[in-house]
Amino acid sequence: MTLNEKDATVAQEGKPARKDGAQSRNAIDFAIRFGFIGLLVGLVIFFSLAADGFSSPRSAVFIFQSVAITGILALGVTFTLVVGGFDLSIGSVATSSMMLSAYVMVVLEQSAFVAIVACLVMGAVIGFINGVLIVKTKVPDLLATLGMMFLLVGLQRIPTEGRSIATGMTLPDGSTANGTFSPFFLQMGRHRFDLVLDNLLPISVVFLLVIGVLVWVFLELTRHGRLMYAIGSNERAASLTGTNVNAYKIVAYMFSGVLASVGGMLLAARLGRGDIASGTNLLLDAVAAALIGFAVLGAAKPNAFGTAMGALFVGILLQGLTMMNAPYYTQDFVKGAVLVVALVFTFSLSGRKAGGH
């Protein structure tokens, strides 16, 4: 990948000051670039030795599955980080999408296709509103998306008066909801492909991989991705080269909204109901993955590969700890600790100014 190529040349060409200084400088460069990957590999080896059954295809797939939805949301928030913004509403967009898809199929008795289109449109519209609030009305990104988060958390409860949506539930007007989740829709969360072993690869993991590759291609290889990075690094300079900064920022928030709604649909398909209590951890986990991604390969900036690695890192850690019988309530503590260490990697050691917050 180009990130490390570029950094490699910089490292080689680092001013040849004094020899020992240059050497320690190179050592630090090396630590910054490969520290996190090294940690990841170390973690896998450790758990393979310490936890029975960790190093099996099934366990690997389970890890992927556990991070699939978070990872998709994290790829969305990566877009907003790239343009120097932030999207706090992704978690509630995802849960709103979950509730909406359930509402469309169970209450309105529509097809899976209608539900999917409705969710994608909702994600895009929310992203658009976020973007307009930020670039036109100049509300700071954190505040605009925080407001949107609250708004959506409330909104998704109104149609059902705060209840979860499942077939046979009683509606506010006293009637019973007779619709069902379409089998096709449920397949999105439950189908598994055969790969080496029967029923190995869940569809959500395929979604994650495909979306991850697409986002990486967009951000790294296309001129639109390049211009988004330019905006994140120096917005004023980017606008003075003729770049339509506002349009790119709005598009970044729309991508974020759409990807969050995809995550929400996968969640609905997995649960088979619109569960009002699910998805509370999505926001923090996704943001953590994207921020951990800053540290991968010393990028010191938001990037798709890093985000995917960040999500994977958290997944491996939690799966390993679970298999070693660590209690569930230590999970958030571990995630927080990893995030703090990653941020120190990024901001303190690398000395390069990172974009975003």
Binding site: K6, T9, E13, T222, L240, T241, G242, T243
Partner: protein, 506 residues
Amino acid sequence: MHEAACRIDRVEKAFGDNRVLKDITLDLPAGTVTVLMGANGAGKSTLVKILSGVHSKDSGTIRLSGSEFRPETPADAIRAGIVTVHQNINDGVIPDLDVASNLMIDRLAENSYGFLLKRSKLFKAAEDIARRMDLPVNVRRPVSDYSIADRQLIAIARALSHDPKLLILDEPTSSLSASEAERLFSYIERMRAEGVAVLYISHRMSDIRRIADRIVSMRDGEISGVFEGESLDYEGAVNAMLGHRMTDVGIVVPEQGKAVAELKDIRLIPTAKSFSLTLRENEIVVVTGLLGSGKTALAQALFGLHPVHAGSIRLDGQEFRPKSPGEAVARGVFMSPKDRANNAVIRDFDITRNMTVPFLRRYAGLSFVNRGAERAKAREMIDALSIVCQSERDDISTLSGGNQQKVMLARWLAQRCRLLVLDEPFQGVDIRARRDIGHKIRETAGNRATLVMVAELDEALEIADRIIVFSEHAVVAEFRNENVNPNDILTAVAGFAAANQTVQAA
């Protein structure tokens, strides 16, 4: 003249290899307004920061009323009697707090004040200060209720409540109207009468004529001239500030091509006079003028950053009214902005990527960037501009200022355009890079019109075919750069500014 309130003796200051102040020796007499002039980077703000305790000097001494003055922090300087009012008014006041808190805020910051806020005492003390200073304000109202001028006066009143020996005002009138400025001047006159030494930093000739007892010009970290006496030599002061070591570059004004941009009856801002200007192919027009004369406003108007107030622009005969930089670029009008660190350099990008930002489309098929093609172009531009670097993939931040500026220029030279506007292309650039950039601009000028904004006369003389003097957002003089007498230009730069301002103030 009074005794020196402040005596600066052989003060030096360097940031890394960059010697910002070289052997500065200067007396600031009590009861005298000393105006300090200097172009950007001349070292005047560094001098002010040393006096106000923000920076420490490397060597030399400063004496305040005879005793040595060695501030460690801004608070030390204030306690010793050196009070500074900064250019940006909102650095000086806190708009959401009431006037009383603003007037007393540095007292509140002292440890001796105690833990609890004593409101009635606070208001009483503030009212005392306001009365003593003739400040027509209600100390209980928030500062945000008052005009910019009042805020400026509040900041100054707070400064004066410390009974300063030396009052430093950094461009205090830059956001004031003529009548508001007049109020400020009468304050300054009272301070002068009370025996305070005033150091007044400004570029506005009208201010300087109004208030200066003596003028000190700075240039390249040195005092380049001290002017005092019955009638002050304003032109001499401007000359000493801008300077022109006649560098013989042998400009031969070439045959000009057809008109590219025709500006007709343009008024940049509502209060400005109108002007017309025609820019032709194969001609380099330099706009010069003091800070705030509207050079940048002209550049920005041509690049679609804000509309002109009145008048019309035609580009190759077609009406040209860009609403965004994107539209200007599409029509073939390119602009390289001043202050490259904030407005041009994309720090996270390497040289190649910095160069190709505006024209990525040209290196992209189906939106996918062809990295080979953009690197090839970058290598070509690196050779053409003799940019000193290891490769086209070096981080932009590893380059020196001059080479960074060359990359910014290469960004716009990489494609053909109709009109190239360069706002301060020599800012923060060493002499060698300045020559390279100047040559390149002249060499490539054939098929386009070129408009360059510079404040330093030297730079104008080095590259211009025609020199336009700007003042108060309008053209006030025009010179063909052949056997031109630099003093005539200086007269225009200094003189018209003052004349126009007086007219306006009246």
